[in-house]
């Protein structure tokens, strides 16, 4: 068979049923082969390659399986770079297949030729050029193994036109081992004992929960671990769905706009237990003062994360799915009543000074938190929250109650504006039985608004809530606080969004008054399929609390 057919057969061997993509000259043979597989492999034509890659990310985040993207050479491939960088930072498994000019033309500046492997190397887990049809099954098997196993990440296969066209004998062998890659290091017994001893002697332990717990499907193991030794825990942005919201030891979100209690307690704990998180600067602030008083235990699957930002006293290099229960087994069942209770005063302070005014304002313009709280309250139990980037993201992650596993899709590490709409489309394809709610700003939606076309074509049931404050809000917030209110390039005019939706045949509504907000939200959820709800919110709204970049928790701003 042809290389292109072999590619399809290989994808089927990896149980791929959905592909996001965009055709073009150097990938046309692959799309031709895909045509014969259209009954078993669904192809989603996005309106831009960036949309395809973000949709694949959304798909991967809700399913846990690699998202698959097929694009053409040159501009097709360069348009997926942002998504690759995003997936690399957020450990999202992706397999991106790009067409390439024929191998005899490589290096001649042929039409739509770019050095795709060269460009993608710094932002991928693995990037490989396939120059012969015979190599395709091997390369696909390896690509899926690398994308999926260990710490997940994006992989690129750059397939030359002749490799797609040439004939080969197909046989497929799944990749189960690469001698230069150990995805699951075995935890050291001594480290597990040391960690357990530190925790057993701790008076004020605090756990920091990251996405590693979700990627390792170790939510239950985490709960047992925290419960047995009575350890309060904060979660990173991507780690939020790892603990259920009503779990008493879940003390909320860490970081720049996280909750007051877990942030302040980082500076008071005696043992800090990082679980599948990477001490991002948005979580730590100034490293010189960060948790200096504490002994640090770091659970991670990736050895390059150990001692990268924060030096640890005990490193447990392994999949948390195996290492957490190993430590739990050695823990004494204890209570830290006084310590756990000491979080309450901070929770109360945040509730009265920040949360209540934000979600229950008595007068004035509608606030972001108010909208999010109402949407959350009216959403289904299986809802997936998708956000764009900026104030809408921080507010949504603070005030939307995540009720189930894998219920958050957001761009954490890269902070990609324009991520939300296509990611929500991918999430809806990955979890068709779940409700998908997207919060996006007036800025972010306009970066990838063309994907409304994808929603129209495939009837994707995404609930789009645009929080329109007529500004690029997060930058505006920094300008107000740190740049003497010089609003350089942040005020923004927008089209009438429901009218744009209408042009795509999608129902929508614009809300400007508080009285009609809740009923409009209910209408949105009652309407079958996609819906666009634009809400005009406070123009100078601020996300609080805030720890300024590179600062410490002592300088936390609670607002006016």
């Amino acid at each position: 068979m042809r290389g292109a057919e072999a590619l399809m057969c290989s994808l089927r061997e990896e149980h791929v049923d959905t592909i996001f993509g965009y055709p073009g000259g150097q990938i046309i043979t692959v799309f031709d082969a895909l045509y014969s597989f259209r009954d078993t492999i669904r192809q989603i034509l996005t309106r831009h390659e960036q949309g395809a890659v973000h949709a694949a990310q959304g798909f991967a985040r809700v399913t846990g399986e690699p998202g698959v993207v097929i694009v053409t050479s040159g501009p097709g491939a360069t348009n997926v770079i942002t998504g690759l960088a995003d997936a690399m930072l957020d450990s999202t498994p992706l397999v991106v297949i790009a067409g390439q000019v024929g191998s005899s033309l490589l290096g001649t500046d042929a039409f739509q030729e770019t050095d795709v492997v060269g460009i993608t190397l710094p932002v991928t887990k693995w990037s490989y050029q396939v120059r012969s049809a015979a190599e395709i099954p091997w390369a696909v098997a390896r690509a899926f193994y690398i994308a999926r196993e260990g710490r997940p990440g994006p992989v690129v296969l750059d397939i030359t036109k002749d490799a797609q066209n040439d004939m080969m004998e197909f046989s497929y062998e799944k990749c189960t081992f690469i001698r230069s890659y150990q995805p699951y290091p075995e935890p050291k017994k001594s480290a597990i004992q040391e960690a357990a001893a530190l925790i057993n002697n701790a008076k004020r332990p605090l756990a920091l929960v990251g996405q590693g717990v979700i990627l390792g499907e170790a939510e239950d193991e985490l709960k047992d671990f925290l419960t047995k030794a009575d350890i309060p825990a904060g979660a990173t942005l991507l780690g939020l769905p790892a603990m259920s919201m009503d779990f008493p030891l879940n003390k909320g979100m860490l970081g720049m706009h996280g909750n007051v209690a877990p942030n302040r307690k980082t500076a008071e704990c005696d043992v800090l237990i990082a679980i599948g998180m990477r001490f991002d600067d948005r979580v730590t602030g100034d490293l010189k003062t960060y948790a200096r008083q504490a002994k640090v235990i770091h659970f991670d699957i990736d050895s390059s994360e150990i001692n990268k930002n924060v030096k640890c006293d005990v490193a447990i290099l392994a999949d948390v799915k195996t290492s957490l229960p190993a430590v739990t087994a050695l823990l004494k069942r204890t209570r830290h009543k006084e310590w756990v209770n000491s979080f309450k005063i901070h929770e109360q302070e945040e509730l009265t000074r920040v949360i209540n005014p934000e979600i229950h304002p008595e007068a004035g313009p509608i606030t972001m938190g108010e909208v999010i709280n109402l949407v959350s309250g009216n959403s289904a139990g299986n809802a997936v929250l998708v956000t764009d980037v900026g104030q809408n993201q921080m507010m949504a992650c603070r005030y939307f109650k995540l009720k189930s596993r894998r219920s958050l899709v957001t761009s954490g590490g890269l902070g990609t504006m324009g991520f939300g709409l296509p990611a929500a489309i991918g999430a809806a394809f990955g979890a068709p039985e779940r409700q998908v709610c997207l919060f996006v700003g007036d800025g972010g939606i306009q970066m990838t608004i063309q994907e409304l076309g994808t929603i129209m074509e495939y009837n994707v049931p995404v609930k789009i809530i645009i929080l329109n404050n007529k500004f690029l809000g997060m930058v505006r917030q920094w300008q107000e606080l740190f740049y003497r209110e010089r609003y350089s390039s942040t005020p923004m005019k927008s089209p009438n969004f429901p009218k744009v939706a209408e042009a795509y045949g999608l129902p929508g509504k614009k809300v400007t008054r508080r009285e009609e907000l809740e009923s409009s939200i209910k209408t949105m959820f009652e309407t079958k399929g996609a819906y666009l709800l634009e809400v005009e919110v406070e123009e100078n709204g601020m996300v609080y609390p805030m720890i300024p970049a590179g600062s410490t928790v002592e300088n936390l701003i609670l607002g006016d």
Binding site: T176, F177, R179, S180, Y181
Partner: protein
């Protein structure tokens, strides 16, 4: 942090583009590569990179982990000068007339353990191996008689330890492979 000259050795699978993958890890952290040698290792199918860089130990440790994180990299190590035996090779080209007119050049060559690899009517090519400093010293001496061309290689190095760390690693991996196939 204090900067030290480290010798980094990286063992990789024989795949296209490895040099690029390793080089960008240094570039991204603004570490200048002082010298670089790439060749086949003593084990068939495995390539060896020997790189010298000047940096602090902390950053060196982190960079080594980033290098090992690349899928096709088998193992990476770093050493200080006292942990390795290392050499560079240099070639010097001087006019044949200088060689004939100045007998002290012969004495110099004996002292430095250098040898002539080719000589013709026009020039003599001299070769010497040694440390970067000694190579420079010989250049300074020879240049008194006008060196026409001078070139030095990157560093090659072997460890002082009696244990072959890569062979142990490969044996361990072979065990793992057998186990994973047995499943």
């Amino acid at each position: 942090m204090e900067k030290t000259l480290y010798t980094v050795t990286v063992y990789t699978e024989n795949m296209v583009g490895l040099l690029n993958q390793i080089a960008i890890i240094f570039t991204r952290r603004h570490i200048n590569i002082e010298s670089l040698t790439v060749s086949k290792s003593s084990i068939p199918g495995i390539h060896k990179f020997t790189i010298t860089v000047e940096t602090d130990k902390d950053l060196m440790t982190r960079v080594i982990r980033q290098i090992e994180k690349r899928i096709d990299v088998l193992k990476a190590f770093f050493y200080t000068d006292d942990e390795v035996i290392f050499q560079e090779v240099a070639l010097y080209k001087i006019p044949t007339d200088s060689l004939l007119d100045n007998p002290e050049i012969e004495t110099l060559m004996r002292t430095f353990n250098a040898r002539i690899v080719e000589v013709n009517r026009n020039f003599a090519a001299i070769e010497m191996s040694g440390s970067a400093e000694v190579i420079q010293q010989l250049f300074d001496e020879l240049n008194k008689y006008k060196v026409l061309q001078f070139v030095r290689s990157g560093r090659v190095a072997i460890t002082r330890s009696t244990q072959e760390r890569l062979s142990d690693f490969l044996a361990e991996m072979e065990e793992k492979r057998k186990k994973s196939c047995g499943k």
